[in-house]
């Protein structure tokens, strides 16, 4: 976003009115639909019951206590974070080389076309893409056929309703994020820097480790955050691909709102999840920065 401090006109009263008139509608909307609801939910997380109709709700810490008392919630929270970490790692592992090849080896129209091809599936409905994986991964599905064609007599292969199925589906859903963010920061690296390092005798791996990775770090981190946060909170993907194996903190939170109707507990679990995500980002980001 631009910070045209030098060129921007001085703020007068007339300008203030213009600023309020131009930004007001958008931000009032955001306040009413995002920030107030989040505050309301935060408030609900401290209530014993929903304050609708004649129900009596008192302030309590019970909902938060429930998380720390029952090992069940802790296990699921850890499971969700593990899933987030694994999916993010695989997205980096497969996405970074892809972004590098696109940004540094492909040129011109081809690059634009390939780039569009990479983000095109990302534009299609996430739900639909997850559903289509069920037809690939199920017993007697496309994957089983393919494996048996490559390795005759491999036998049946059914990945549906397993942990790996959830990981495959999520990596597929979020891989374009990592490719996109890495591509943007890789494209900004001056090719002559890499050539200079090479001509001074640095090996390819050294160039990658000492030059490319550190310079691409902002893109990698942006991609990692954009993937890690939603994956920790995912519920639809584990439900469709995981079946019984797909119980995570996200599905438990969804249950509180759509099946069990314990909204205060759902709210408390949501904020605990958000809190842990922020904590991890606050601890991990400086560590990663220092390491490179």
């Amino acid at each position: 976003m631009p910070s045209a401090a030098a060129e921007a006109p001085r703020v007068s009263r007339v300008h203030l009115r213009a600023i309020a008139g131009l930004t007001g509608p958008a931000y009032v909307w955001l306040a009413l639909t995002v920030f107030l609801p989040l505050s309301a939910m935060f408030y609900f997380s401290f209530l014993s019951d929903v304050p609708f109709g004649k129900r009596v709700a008192v302030l309590t810490l019970e909902n938060y206590a429930a998380f720390f008392e029952k090992a069940f919630y802790r296990t699921l929270m850890l499971r969700s974070f593990r899933l987030g970490a694994e999916v993010t790692f695989y997205c980096f592992l497969f996405g970074f080389p892809c972004a590098y090849l696109l940004a540094k080896t492909v040129k011109g129209r081809w690059r634009e076309a390939l780039f569009l091809l990479v983000i095109l599936p990302f534009w299609s409905n996430a739900l639909v893409r997850i559903f289509s994986w069920t037809m690939v991964l199920r017993g007697n599905g496309v994957l089983e056929r393919l494996v048996n064609w490559l390795v005759p007599d491999y036998g049946p292969l059914n990945l549906m309703f397993t942990y790996p199925a959830i990981v495959v589906g999520l990596v597929h859903s979020y891989l374009p994020y990592m490719i996109l963010t890495c591509y943007i920061s890789l494209e900004a690296i001056d090719d002559s820097l890499i050539e200079a390092a090479r001509s001074l005798g640095a090996r390819r791996l050294t160039v990658l480790r000492r030059l490319v990775l550190p310079l691409a770090l902002p893109g990698i981190l942006a991609g990692a955050i954009l993937i890690f946060v939603p994956v920790v909170g995912s519920f639809m993907e584990p439900r469709i691909l995981g079946g019984r194996a797909g119980t995570f903190i996200g599905t438990i939170i969804e249950d509180q709102f759509t099946a069990v109707f314990n909204w205060p507990l759902g709210a408390a679990l949501s904020f605990l999840m958000l809190g842990f995500v922020l904590l991890i980002l606050l601890v991990a980001l400086p560590l990663v920065r220092r390491a490179t």
Binding site: M1, P2, P9, H15, L30, F131, L175, I253, A267, M273
Partner: protein, 263 residues
């Protein structure tokens, strides 16, 4: 050395092809299965148009589809206008709190939809807005606004503010200068932003899921329900159509918005 470099280049191309294959396999499988007569997705494919014909008679899916389009169109109109106005303010004026306002655009993108969706459900229920298509529009605009502002701001970055000044000094009112000089120049950015907003809304599942009333839902919510209940192959047909529409939208965006940077 050159032989080795050529080998590396070939390996790179193979790798790109493998990643693309991974990205497209499920989509292609879905499209093919939508033409498969077997309800259990048996292979090899037994080609048929049955599912598309059945779709034409499926009132539930059709009304959900029309709801999706309605919500997306209304969302697009509101988000594009509000977002463009806010971007203009950010571009023209430097004021205290600008950084804060810009930072406030990130929570709607960065907080998991599960949390935003449930928070909207709780709040809308509490203040009496309730659930339904109007609630979905409220929610979808909030999700689309940050994208609109980011895209329009990117376009504005290469706009020369002196053009507006020139128009003003030649006697145009501020409104005239905006309408005759700034907005025509912004048009491609606004079209890209509008297509973005439409896609965000049209593909949105999580928020719609929590804000849908029984009986009134959008296509993604209906598809989810069908999948959970034991799906019918018609879902493949409608999903294939949804995917084609979404992809056509992105190709539309790409016409107006350079994704891959400078050519």
């Amino acid at each position: 050395m050159t032989a080795r470099r050529r080998g590396l280049a070939r390996a790179g191309r193979l790798y790109l092809a493998a990643v693309l294959l991974f990205l497209y396999v499920p989509i292609v499988v879905m499209a093919v299965m939508s033409f498969n007569a077997s309800q259990l997705y048996r292979l090899p494919v037994d080609w048929t148009f049955t599912w598309y014909l059945r779709l034409a008679g499926n009132d539930k899916l059709i009304s959900a589809g029309l709801n999706s389009v309605w919500v997306a169109v209304v969302t697009t109109a509101i988000a594009t206008v509000l977002g463009t106005a806010a971007s203009l303010a950010f571009f023209r004026y430097d004021f205290r709190g600008k950084r804060l306002l810009q930072l406030l655009l990130f929570p709607p993108i960065a907080i998991p939809w599960l949390i935003i969706g449930t928070a909207m459900l709780v709040f809308f229920f509490w203040i009496g807005v309730g659930r339904g298509l109007h609630a979905m529009v409220l929610g979808h605009v909030a999700l689309a606004l940050p994208y609109v502002i980011i895209v329009v701001t990117a376009r504005l970055r290469s706009f020369d503010p002196h053009l507006e000044e020139a128009a003003r000094s030649l006697g145009a009112s501020p409104w005239q200068a905006t309408r005759r000089v700034t907005l025509p120049w912004l048009a491609p950015g606004m079209v890209a932003a509008a297509l973005f907003a439409f896609a965000v809304s049209f593909d949105q599942f999580v928020i719609s899921y929590f804000l849908s009333e029984p009986g009134v839902s959008t296509l993604p919510v209906e598809i989810y329900t069908a999948i959970r209940k034991g799906f019918t192959p018609e879902i493949n047909a409608v999903s294939t159509i949804v995917i084609l529409v979404s992809m056509a939208l992105l190709l539309g965006v790409a016409r107006f918005y350079r994704f891959a940077g400078e050519r």
